[in-house]
Protein backbone atom coordinates (compact mmCIF):
# COMPACT_ATOMS: atom_id res chain seq x y z
CA UNK A 1 0.00 0.00 0.00
CA UNK A 2 1.47 3.34 -1.00
CA UNK A 3 1.37 6.44 1.17
CA UNK A 4 -1.18 8.10 -1.10
CA UNK A 5 -3.50 5.10 -0.92
CA UNK A 6 -3.08 4.95 2.81
CA UNK A 7 -3.86 8.62 3.31
CA UNK A 8 -6.75 8.48 0.87
CA UNK A 9 -8.35 5.71 2.85
CA UNK A 10 -7.38 6.60 6.43
CA UNK A 11 -6.50 10.32 6.24
CA UNK A 12 -9.64 11.42 8.06
CA UNK A 13 -9.05 8.85 10.76
CA UNK A 14 -5.49 10.10 11.22
CA UNK A 15 -6.77 13.63 11.73
CA UNK A 16 -9.29 12.40 14.27
CA UNK A 17 -6.68 10.26 15.99
CA UNK A 18 -4.29 13.20 16.20
CA UNK A 19 -7.00 15.44 17.64
CA UNK A 20 -7.95 12.67 20.08
CA UNK A 21 -4.35 12.27 21.20
CA UNK A 22 -3.98 16.04 21.61
CA UNK A 23 -7.19 16.26 23.59
CA UNK A 24 -6.31 13.40 25.94
CA UNK A 25 -2.81 14.83 26.42
CA UNK A 26 -4.09 18.32 27.15
CA UNK A 27 -6.74 17.22 29.64
CA UNK A 28 -4.39 14.74 31.37
CA UNK A 29 -1.57 17.27 31.61
CA UNK A 30 -3.83 20.03 32.98
CA UNK A 31 -5.29 17.79 35.67
CA UNK A 32 -1.85 16.31 36.40
CA UNK A 33 -0.45 19.81 37.06
CA UNK A 34 -3.29 20.67 39.44
CA UNK A 35 -3.01 17.36 41.27
CA UNK A 36 0.78 17.63 41.42
CA UNK A 37 0.46 21.06 43.03
CA UNK A 38 -1.98 19.79 45.65
CA UNK A 39 0.13 16.71 46.39
CA UNK A 40 3.24 18.87 46.68
CA UNK A 41 1.53 21.21 49.14
CA UNK A 42 0.62 18.08 51.16
CA UNK A 43 4.23 16.93 51.04
CA UNK A 44 5.67 20.16 52.44
CA UNK A 45 2.88 20.90 54.90
CA UNK A 46 3.57 21.02 58.62
CA UNK A 47 0.87 18.38 59.21
CA UNK A 48 2.43 14.94 59.26
CA UNK A 49 -0.53 12.82 58.07
CA UNK A 50 -0.77 15.02 54.95
CA UNK A 51 2.93 14.58 54.28
CA UNK A 52 2.56 10.82 54.58
CA UNK A 53 -0.41 10.76 52.21
CA UNK A 54 1.48 12.91 49.69
CA UNK A 55 4.63 10.79 49.81
CA UNK A 56 2.61 7.58 49.56
CA UNK A 57 0.70 8.90 46.56
CA UNK A 58 3.93 9.63 44.72
CA UNK A 59 5.47 6.28 45.64
CA UNK A 60 2.42 4.43 44.36
CA UNK A 61 1.73 6.18 41.09
CA UNK A 62 5.31 6.84 40.11
CA UNK A 63 6.32 3.25 40.61
CA UNK A 64 3.69 1.15 38.88
CA UNK A 65 3.48 0.77 35.11
CA UNK A 66 0.78 2.77 33.36
CA UNK A 67 -0.55 -0.37 31.69
CA UNK A 68 -1.13 -2.09 35.04
CA UNK A 69 -2.92 0.96 36.32
CA UNK A 70 -5.09 1.07 33.21
CA UNK A 71 -5.97 -2.61 33.58
CA UNK A 72 -6.96 -2.01 37.19
CA UNK A 73 -9.19 0.90 36.22
CA UNK A 74 -10.79 -0.94 33.31
CA UNK A 75 -11.18 -4.44 34.74
CA UNK A 76 -10.96 -4.19 38.54
CA UNK A 77 -12.92 -1.08 39.38
CA UNK A 78 -16.18 -2.42 37.87
CA UNK A 79 -16.14 -4.97 40.73
CA UNK A 80 -16.42 -1.95 43.04
CA UNK A 81 -19.33 -0.75 40.93
CA UNK A 82 -17.17 2.00 39.44
CA UNK A 83 -17.46 1.86 35.69
CA UNK A 84 -15.73 4.54 33.67
CA UNK A 85 -15.73 5.21 29.98
CA UNK A 86 -12.60 3.76 28.26
CA UNK A 87 -11.32 7.15 27.24
CA UNK A 88 -11.79 8.42 30.79
CA UNK A 89 -9.85 5.41 32.09
CA UNK A 90 -6.90 6.35 29.88
CA UNK A 91 -7.06 10.00 30.94
CA UNK A 92 -7.23 9.07 34.63
CA UNK A 93 -4.30 6.67 34.28
CA UNK A 94 -2.10 9.20 32.53
CA UNK A 95 -3.14 11.92 35.02
CA UNK A 96 -2.29 9.80 38.07
CA UNK A 97 1.12 8.77 36.77
CA UNK A 98 2.01 12.23 35.47
CA UNK A 99 0.92 13.97 38.69
CA UNK A 100 3.32 11.80 40.71
CA UNK A 101 6.21 12.76 38.43
CA UNK A 102 4.99 16.37 38.36
CA UNK A 103 5.08 16.53 42.14
CA UNK A 104 8.68 15.36 42.08
CA UNK A 105 9.46 18.21 39.66
CA UNK A 106 7.81 20.72 41.98
CA UNK A 107 9.69 19.29 44.97
CA UNK A 108 13.03 19.79 43.28
CA UNK A 109 11.88 23.31 42.34
CA UNK A 110 11.12 23.95 46.00
CA UNK A 111 14.51 22.60 47.03
CA UNK A 112 16.25 25.23 44.92
CA UNK A 113 14.61 28.03 46.92
CA UNK A 114 16.64 27.46 50.03
CA UNK A 115 15.82 27.87 53.66
CA UNK A 116 16.94 31.51 53.74
CA UNK A 117 14.02 32.95 51.79
CA UNK A 118 11.63 30.82 53.81
CA UNK A 119 13.05 32.19 57.04
CA UNK A 120 12.80 35.71 55.61
CA UNK A 121 9.13 35.11 54.81
CA UNK A 122 8.45 33.78 58.28
CA UNK A 123 10.24 36.66 59.94
CA UNK A 124 8.03 39.06 57.97
CA UNK A 125 5.10 37.46 59.77
CA UNK A 126 3.85 35.25 56.95
CA UNK A 127 2.06 32.10 58.01
CA UNK A 128 2.49 28.81 56.16
CA UNK A 129 -0.18 29.54 53.54
CA UNK A 130 1.08 33.00 52.64
CA UNK A 131 4.67 31.85 52.50
CA UNK A 132 3.67 29.05 50.16
CA UNK A 133 1.53 31.26 47.94
CA UNK A 134 3.86 34.26 47.74
CA UNK A 135 7.35 32.83 47.98
CA UNK A 136 7.52 29.07 47.49
CA UNK A 137 4.99 28.18 44.79
CA UNK A 138 5.79 31.00 42.36
CA UNK A 139 9.46 30.07 42.42
CA UNK A 140 8.83 26.33 42.29
CA UNK A 141 6.59 26.86 39.24
CA UNK A 142 9.19 28.90 37.45
CA UNK A 143 12.05 26.53 38.00
CA UNK A 144 9.85 23.56 37.08
CA UNK A 145 9.07 24.77 33.55
CA UNK A 146 11.72 22.71 31.75
CA UNK A 147 11.13 19.44 33.64
CA UNK A 148 7.39 19.98 33.17
CA UNK A 149 7.98 20.38 29.43
CA UNK A 150 9.59 16.95 29.44
CA UNK A 151 6.65 15.66 31.42
CA UNK A 152 4.23 17.10 28.86
CA UNK A 153 6.02 15.13 26.15
CA UNK A 154 5.89 12.03 28.34
CA UNK A 155 2.15 12.57 28.81
CA UNK A 156 1.69 12.83 25.05
CA UNK A 157 3.48 9.53 24.53
CA UNK A 158 1.76 7.83 27.45
CA UNK A 159 -1.66 8.42 25.90
CA UNK A 160 -0.62 5.59 23.56
CA UNK A 161 -1.98 3.43 26.39
CA UNK A 162 -5.28 4.16 24.66
CA UNK A 163 -4.30 1.52 22.11
CA UNK A 164 -4.84 -1.14 24.80
CA UNK A 165 -8.55 -0.44 25.12
CA UNK A 166 -11.21 -0.08 22.44
CA UNK A 167 -11.45 3.65 21.79
CA UNK A 168 -13.62 5.05 19.11
CA UNK A 169 -12.24 6.86 17.30
CA UNK A 170 -8.82 5.37 18.19
CA UNK A 171 -5.87 7.56 19.12
CA UNK A 172 -2.63 7.62 17.11
CA UNK A 173 -1.18 4.30 18.29
CA UNK A 174 -4.51 2.51 18.34
CA UNK A 175 -5.13 3.64 14.78
CA UNK A 176 -1.98 1.88 13.63
CA UNK A 177 -3.27 -1.48 14.91
CA UNK A 178 -6.68 -0.65 13.48
CA UNK A 179 -5.20 -0.11 10.04
CA UNK A 180 -2.85 -3.08 10.18
CA UNK A 181 -5.64 -5.48 11.10
CA UNK A 182 -7.53 -4.40 7.99
CA UNK A 183 -4.87 -3.88 5.34
CA UNK A 184 -1.25 -4.80 4.85
CA UNK A 185 0.11 -1.38 5.76
CA UNK A 186 3.52 -2.57 6.85
CA UNK A 187 5.71 -0.03 8.58
CA UNK A 188 4.11 2.98 6.93
CA UNK A 189 1.14 3.52 9.30
CA UNK A 190 3.63 3.46 12.20
CA UNK A 191 5.84 6.06 10.55
CA UNK A 192 2.94 8.43 9.99
CA UNK A 193 1.85 8.19 13.64
CA UNK A 194 5.43 8.54 14.81
CA UNK A 195 5.88 11.72 12.79
CA UNK A 196 2.71 13.14 14.33
CA UNK A 197 3.96 12.36 17.85
CA UNK A 198 7.38 13.80 17.07
CA UNK A 199 5.94 16.96 15.52
CA UNK A 200 3.71 17.55 18.53
CA UNK A 201 6.58 16.93 20.94
CA UNK A 202 8.71 19.40 19.02
CA UNK A 203 6.05 22.10 19.37
CA UNK A 204 5.70 21.34 23.09
CA UNK A 205 9.46 21.72 23.44
CA UNK A 206 9.46 25.07 21.68
CA UNK A 207 6.61 26.38 23.84
CA UNK A 208 8.28 25.09 27.02
CA UNK A 209 11.57 26.78 26.17
CA UNK A 210 9.83 30.05 25.40
CA UNK A 211 7.98 30.01 28.72
CA UNK A 212 11.15 29.12 30.59
CA UNK A 213 13.04 31.98 28.99
CA UNK A 214 10.30 34.37 30.02
CA UNK A 215 9.87 33.35 33.66
CA UNK A 216 13.32 32.05 34.57
CA UNK A 217 14.67 33.50 37.80
CA UNK A 218 18.15 34.92 37.58
CA UNK A 219 20.10 33.90 40.67
Amino acid sequence: MSISELLAEYGDMYVQALLGTWWMSLVSFAFAMLLALVITVFRVSPIKPLRVVGDLYVQIFRNIPGVSLLIILVYALPYLKIVMDYRLCVIVTVTLVASAFGSENFMSGINTIGVGQIEAARSLGMGFGKMLRLVVIPQALRSAVLPMTNLAVAVLLTTALGSQVPLSPPELTGLVSYINTRTVGGILPFVISALMYAGTAFVIGVIGNAIDKKVRIVR
Binding site: P46, I113, G116, Q117, E119, A120, A121, R122, S123, L124, G125, M126, G127, K130, L134, V135, P138, Q139, R142, I217, V218, R219
Partner: protein
Protein backbone atom coordinates in the same frame (compact mmCIF):
# COMPACT_ATOMS: atom_id res chain seq x y z
CA UNK B 1 -6.70 42.51 87.71
CA UNK B 2 -3.52 42.56 89.70
CA UNK B 3 -1.65 41.19 86.74
CA UNK B 4 -2.89 43.92 84.41
CA UNK B 5 -1.85 46.58 86.87
CA UNK B 6 1.57 45.08 87.21
CA UNK B 7 1.83 44.91 83.45
CA UNK B 8 0.94 48.55 83.05
CA UNK B 9 3.28 49.59 85.83
CA UNK B 10 6.12 47.75 84.16
CA UNK B 11 5.34 49.31 80.82
CA UNK B 12 5.50 52.73 82.42
CA UNK B 13 8.95 52.00 83.80
CA UNK B 14 10.02 50.64 80.47
CA UNK B 15 9.49 46.92 80.07
CA UNK B 16 12.39 45.58 78.04
CA UNK B 17 11.45 45.22 74.37
CA UNK B 18 13.29 41.91 74.32
CA UNK B 19 14.00 39.73 77.31
CA UNK B 20 15.52 36.27 77.55
CA UNK B 21 15.24 34.40 80.83
CA UNK B 22 17.28 31.28 81.55
CA UNK B 23 17.24 30.21 77.91
CA UNK B 24 18.80 26.81 77.20
CA UNK B 25 19.16 25.01 73.92
CA UNK B 26 20.88 21.88 72.65
CA UNK B 27 21.69 20.70 69.14
CA UNK B 28 21.83 16.99 69.85
CA UNK B 29 24.51 16.57 72.48
CA UNK B 30 25.88 20.07 71.88
CA UNK B 31 24.80 22.62 74.47
CA UNK B 32 24.57 25.72 72.27
CA UNK B 33 22.86 28.15 74.65
CA UNK B 34 23.56 27.95 78.36
CA UNK B 35 21.28 29.79 80.75
CA UNK B 36 21.10 32.96 78.67
CA UNK B 37 19.69 36.04 80.39
CA UNK B 38 19.44 39.23 78.41
CA UNK B 39 17.35 42.38 78.47
CA UNK B 40 17.19 44.89 75.67
CA UNK B 41 15.47 48.17 76.51
CA UNK B 42 13.64 50.47 74.13
CA UNK B 43 16.05 52.25 71.81
CA UNK B 44 18.98 50.23 73.04
CA UNK B 45 21.61 48.88 70.65
CA UNK B 46 23.14 45.64 71.88
CA UNK B 47 26.02 44.10 69.96
CA UNK B 48 26.72 40.40 70.45
CA UNK B 49 30.28 39.32 69.71
CA UNK B 50 32.28 36.18 70.24
CA UNK B 51 34.23 33.49 68.44
CA UNK B 52 32.47 31.44 65.78
CA UNK B 53 30.46 28.61 67.24
CA UNK B 54 29.85 30.58 70.41
CA UNK B 55 26.07 30.53 69.90
CA UNK B 56 25.62 34.20 69.09
CA UNK B 57 23.66 33.61 65.87
CA UNK B 58 21.51 31.02 67.58
CA UNK B 59 20.81 33.49 70.37
CA UNK B 60 19.73 36.08 67.82
CA UNK B 61 17.47 33.60 66.05
CA UNK B 62 15.71 32.46 69.23
CA UNK B 63 14.37 35.99 69.70
CA UNK B 64 11.82 35.57 66.90
CA UNK B 65 11.73 31.81 67.33
CA UNK B 66 13.41 30.86 64.09
CA UNK B 67 15.18 28.61 66.57
CA UNK B 68 13.12 26.93 69.25
CA UNK B 69 14.46 26.70 72.78
CA UNK B 70 14.53 23.77 75.18
CA UNK B 71 13.79 25.70 78.34
CA UNK B 72 13.56 29.24 79.62
CA UNK B 73 11.52 32.10 78.26
CA UNK B 74 11.69 34.69 75.51
CA UNK B 75 9.55 37.76 76.13
CA UNK B 76 8.66 40.51 73.70
CA UNK B 77 7.47 43.63 75.52
CA UNK B 78 6.90 41.48 78.59
CA UNK B 79 4.80 38.87 76.78
CA UNK B 80 6.11 35.32 76.28
CA UNK B 81 6.67 34.37 72.65
CA UNK B 82 3.67 32.31 71.52
CA UNK B 83 3.86 28.81 70.05
CA UNK B 84 4.05 28.35 66.28
CA UNK B 85 0.86 29.66 64.68
CA UNK B 86 -1.00 32.87 63.82
CA UNK B 87 -0.03 34.62 67.02
CA UNK B 88 3.65 33.90 66.56
CA UNK B 89 3.43 35.12 62.97
CA UNK B 90 2.05 38.46 64.12
CA UNK B 91 4.75 38.76 66.78
CA UNK B 92 7.39 38.04 64.15
CA UNK B 93 5.89 40.75 61.96
CA UNK B 94 6.77 43.22 64.73
CA UNK B 95 10.44 42.24 64.84
CA UNK B 96 12.65 42.91 61.85
CA UNK B 97 15.32 40.44 60.90
CA UNK B 98 18.32 40.92 58.64
CA UNK B 99 20.27 37.84 57.61
CA UNK B 100 23.84 37.21 56.65
CA UNK B 101 22.80 36.04 53.18
CA UNK B 102 20.22 38.82 52.57
CA UNK B 103 17.50 36.32 51.59
CA UNK B 104 15.64 38.63 49.24
CA UNK B 105 12.78 36.97 47.33
CA UNK B 106 14.52 36.08 44.08
CA UNK B 107 11.40 36.14 41.87
CA UNK B 108 10.20 39.62 42.82
CA UNK B 109 11.58 43.07 42.05
CA UNK B 110 13.33 45.16 44.69
CA UNK B 111 10.27 47.33 45.36
CA UNK B 112 8.04 44.22 45.52
CA UNK B 113 10.39 42.74 48.11
CA UNK B 114 9.88 45.84 50.24
CA UNK B 115 6.10 46.12 49.80
CA UNK B 116 5.21 42.43 50.09
CA UNK B 117 5.19 42.40 53.90
CA UNK B 118 3.09 45.53 54.40
CA UNK B 119 0.59 44.57 51.67
CA UNK B 120 0.21 40.87 52.41
CA UNK B 121 0.75 40.75 56.16
CA UNK B 122 -0.32 44.17 57.45
CA UNK B 123 -3.01 44.82 54.84
CA UNK B 124 -1.62 48.20 53.75
CA UNK B 125 -2.90 49.37 50.35
CA UNK B 126 -0.59 48.75 47.40
CA UNK B 127 -0.23 52.47 46.60
CA UNK B 128 0.61 53.44 50.14
CA UNK B 129 3.05 50.56 50.55
CA UNK B 130 4.76 51.52 47.31
CA UNK B 131 5.07 55.15 48.33
CA UNK B 132 6.54 54.17 51.70
CA UNK B 133 8.71 51.52 50.10
CA UNK B 134 10.23 54.02 47.68
CA UNK B 135 10.90 56.37 50.58
CA UNK B 136 12.71 53.58 52.43
CA UNK B 137 14.70 52.64 49.35
CA UNK B 138 15.75 56.28 49.02
CA UNK B 139 16.77 56.26 52.66
CA UNK B 140 19.05 53.25 52.17
CA UNK B 141 20.30 54.63 48.85
CA UNK B 142 18.96 52.12 46.32
CA UNK B 143 15.85 53.89 44.99
CA UNK B 144 17.20 53.82 41.40
CA UNK B 145 17.25 50.00 41.56
CA UNK B 146 13.59 49.68 42.56
CA UNK B 147 12.44 47.84 39.44
CA UNK B 148 15.44 45.51 39.18
CA UNK B 149 15.60 41.92 40.37
CA UNK B 150 17.66 41.03 43.46
CA UNK B 151 20.32 39.14 41.49
CA UNK B 152 21.09 42.30 39.52
CA UNK B 153 22.26 44.13 42.67
CA UNK B 154 25.56 43.95 44.51
CA UNK B 155 25.68 42.26 47.89
CA UNK B 156 25.83 45.57 49.72
CA UNK B 157 22.82 46.87 47.82
CA UNK B 158 20.89 43.67 48.46
CA UNK B 159 21.57 43.90 52.17
CA UNK B 160 20.37 47.50 52.25
CA UNK B 161 17.20 46.38 50.48
CA UNK B 162 16.80 43.66 53.11
CA UNK B 163 17.04 46.32 55.81
CA UNK B 164 14.43 48.42 53.99
CA UNK B 165 12.19 45.36 53.71
CA UNK B 166 12.33 44.93 57.49
CA UNK B 167 11.80 48.62 58.15
CA UNK B 168 8.68 48.62 55.97
CA UNK B 169 6.99 46.56 58.69
CA UNK B 170 7.58 49.35 61.27
CA UNK B 171 9.26 46.91 63.63
CA UNK B 172 9.57 47.40 67.38
CA UNK B 173 13.05 45.98 67.22
CA UNK B 174 15.50 44.75 64.61
CA UNK B 175 17.71 41.69 64.72
CA UNK B 176 20.88 41.61 62.62
CA UNK B 177 22.48 38.19 62.21
CA UNK B 178 26.00 38.90 60.93
CA UNK B 179 24.72 41.38 58.33
CA UNK B 180 28.12 42.15 56.82
CA UNK B 181 29.83 38.76 57.00
CA UNK B 182 28.94 37.76 53.43
CA UNK B 183 29.98 41.08 51.90
CA UNK B 184 33.06 42.11 50.02
CA UNK B 185 35.13 44.52 52.15
CA UNK B 186 34.31 47.57 50.05
CA UNK B 187 30.59 47.04 50.62
CA UNK B 188 30.64 46.63 54.37
CA UNK B 189 30.60 50.31 55.15
CA UNK B 190 27.58 51.14 53.00
CA UNK B 191 25.58 48.65 55.08
CA UNK B 192 27.06 49.75 58.41
CA UNK B 193 26.25 53.38 57.58
CA UNK B 194 22.58 52.48 57.23
CA UNK B 195 22.72 50.63 60.55
CA UNK B 196 24.41 53.55 62.27
CA UNK B 197 21.69 55.86 61.02
CA UNK B 198 19.05 53.46 62.33
CA UNK B 199 20.70 53.26 65.73
CA UNK B 200 20.92 57.04 65.96
CA UNK B 201 17.25 57.21 65.03
CA UNK B 202 16.39 55.28 68.19
CA UNK B 203 15.76 51.80 66.77
CA UNK B 204 16.02 48.96 69.26
CA UNK B 205 18.67 46.65 67.83
CA UNK B 206 20.38 43.36 68.54
CA UNK B 207 23.40 43.00 66.26
CA UNK B 208 25.52 39.89 65.93
CA UNK B 209 28.68 41.04 64.21
CA UNK B 210 32.41 40.85 63.83
CA UNK B 211 32.63 44.58 63.14
CA UNK B 212 34.35 45.82 66.28
CA UNK B 213 34.45 49.41 65.03
CA UNK B 214 30.68 49.40 64.74
CA UNK B 215 30.33 47.83 68.19
CA UNK B 216 32.54 50.51 69.66
CA UNK B 217 31.01 53.51 67.99
CA UNK B 218 27.34 52.65 67.98
CA UNK B 219 26.39 50.12 70.62
CA UNK B 220 25.07 50.90 74.06
CA UNK B 221 26.16 47.53 75.32
CA UNK B 222 28.45 44.75 74.20
CA UNK B 223 27.60 41.16 75.02
CA UNK B 224 30.47 38.71 74.74
CA UNK B 225 29.60 35.06 74.21
CA UNK B 226 31.74 31.95 74.20
CA UNK B 227 30.77 28.27 74.24
CA UNK B 228 27.06 29.03 74.39
CA UNK B 229 27.18 31.28 77.43
CA UNK B 230 27.27 35.03 77.99
CA UNK B 231 30.70 35.50 79.54
CA UNK B 232 30.75 39.23 79.92
CA UNK B 233 28.70 42.30 79.08
CA UNK B 234 29.28 45.97 79.49
CA UNK B 235 29.55 49.41 77.94
CA UNK B 236 31.64 49.21 74.76
CA UNK B 237 34.46 51.45 76.02
CA UNK B 238 34.84 49.50 79.24
CA UNK B 239 34.60 46.16 77.50
CA UNK B 240 37.15 46.92 74.80
CA UNK B 241 39.58 48.76 77.11
CA UNK B 242 39.25 46.66 80.23
CA UNK B 243 37.72 43.27 79.63
CA UNK B 244 37.31 41.56 82.98
CA UNK B 245 37.40 37.92 81.90
CA UNK B 246 40.35 35.97 80.56
CA UNK B 247 38.21 34.55 77.74
CA UNK B 248 37.25 38.02 76.50
CA UNK B 249 40.86 39.22 76.69
CA UNK B 250 41.99 36.24 74.61
CA UNK B 251 39.28 36.94 72.04
CA UNK B 252 40.10 40.62 71.77
CA UNK B 253 43.82 39.85 71.46
CA UNK B 254 43.14 37.32 68.74
CA UNK B 255 41.28 39.78 66.52
CA UNK B 256 43.63 42.72 66.81
CA UNK B 257 47.22 43.09 65.77
CA UNK B 258 46.73 42.63 62.05
Amino acid sequence: MTQTQTGEALAAEGTPVIELRHVDKHFGSLHVLKDINLKVGKGEVVVVIGPSGSGKSTLCRTINRLETIDSGEVLIEGKPLPQEGKELASTRAEIGMVFQSFNLFAHRSIIDNVTMGPVEVLGVSRDKAREEGMELLRRVGVAEQAEKMPAQLSGGQQQRVAIARSLAMHPKAMLFDEPTSALDPEMINEVLDVMVELARGGMTMVVVTHEMGFARRVSDRVVFMADGAIIEEGKPDEFFEHPTTERAREFLDSIKGH
